[in-house]
């Protein structure tokens, strides 16, 4: 298996050993990772609530997105770097973890949802922005985003509770 051999190689690196053997480092990365996800999910939820017409109704979507995206990207950066290092410390274990695979899939779907939203519906934002109610496709994107990020948090917890093989 190609992916498995990559994971085996990752586990054999010095970096992997350093993270694996240091409780302090692992816990710090774990903490940064959690805070990063909370920042990403929390800021994205604001946009989702706006798209769904539930919150921040008086705020134009463009301005909300412009203001909040830097914080989202900052959180995302923290999450990816810390997540990558955590992964490197137990790559083969993650390879065998169904929860990890589901989480990666959900991340890809959340990214795809955001990409499609920005490339299609969001391009016409000038036409629908001032109205407090976003068009149905935008609401759908907001709802999907909300669900994906809740599911990503859930899958992340499941990795911790089902380390390795016994979830699937």
């Amino acid at each position: 298996m190609f992916l498995l051999s990559i994971c085996q190689w990752v586990d054999s690196t010095r970096l992997s050993a350093i993270v694996r053997q240091s409780n302090w480092l692992f816990s710090t990365l774990d903490t940064v990772h959690t805070l990063g996800i909370i920042l990403v999910a929390g800021t994205i939820m604001l946009v989702d609530l706006r798209l769904l017409g539930l919150g921040l109704r008086s705020v134009p979507v463009v301005q909300l997105v412009a203001r909040i995206v830097p914080a989202t990207l900052g959180g995302f950066g923290l999450m990816v770097v810390s997540g990558g290092l955590l992964f490197s410390s137990e790559a083969v274990k993650m390879y065998h973890s169904p929860a990890f695979r589901i989480k990666m899939l959900l991340l890809a779907l959340a990214g795809l949802n955001a990409l499609i939203f920005h490339r299609t519906i969001y391009r016409d934002v000038a036409h629908w922005d001032p109205a407090s109610a976003a068009p149905v496709p935008a609401r759908l994107a907001g709802l999907l985003s909300l669900l994906f990020w809740i599911a990503i948090i859930a899958a992340g917890r499941a990795i911790a509770y089902a380390p390795g093989y016994d979830l699937g």
């Binding site: 903490t31 929390g42 800021t43 994205i44 203001r67």
Partner: protein, 158 residues
Amino acid sequence: MMPLFHWLQYTPLAQTIRHSAALIALLEIIHLVGLALLVGTILMVDLSLLGLGIGRQPVSRIARELNLFTATGLTIMLASGPLILCSEAVRCYKTPAFWIKMALLAIAIAFHFTIHRRVAMAEPPAPHPDARIVAILSLTLWFGVALAGKAIAIFQPA
């Protein structure tokens, strides 16, 4: 106080949660989703207080439109938190991070519903003179609560 925590842990409800990894995981997921909602909405209001708000939107309007969601996030956390606590009450009792979190949480909640609320809801046009310091205090307190929460899981009692 220890007998209280001991009693708590041995209630049937706590024992049910304690012996189900799935239930604990579910409660932690709910707790984290509540935290995300709380952090996202408070961050938005505090950015506005720092002068990094949205266009010319007054802070009071942003705060008013988010109050319900901040309260929802807090309610989710306050409902799930004690259930997680009771499943391992004795360990929490012996973990300093737990007490630090409870102290920070009490201060953060008191601050949020008094000073923070008053400053955030101050009517325009003049921004409240203490807006920035209140925003920094609010962000620091809630960050501290989250950090201490994570620390409960990391630091096992000696």
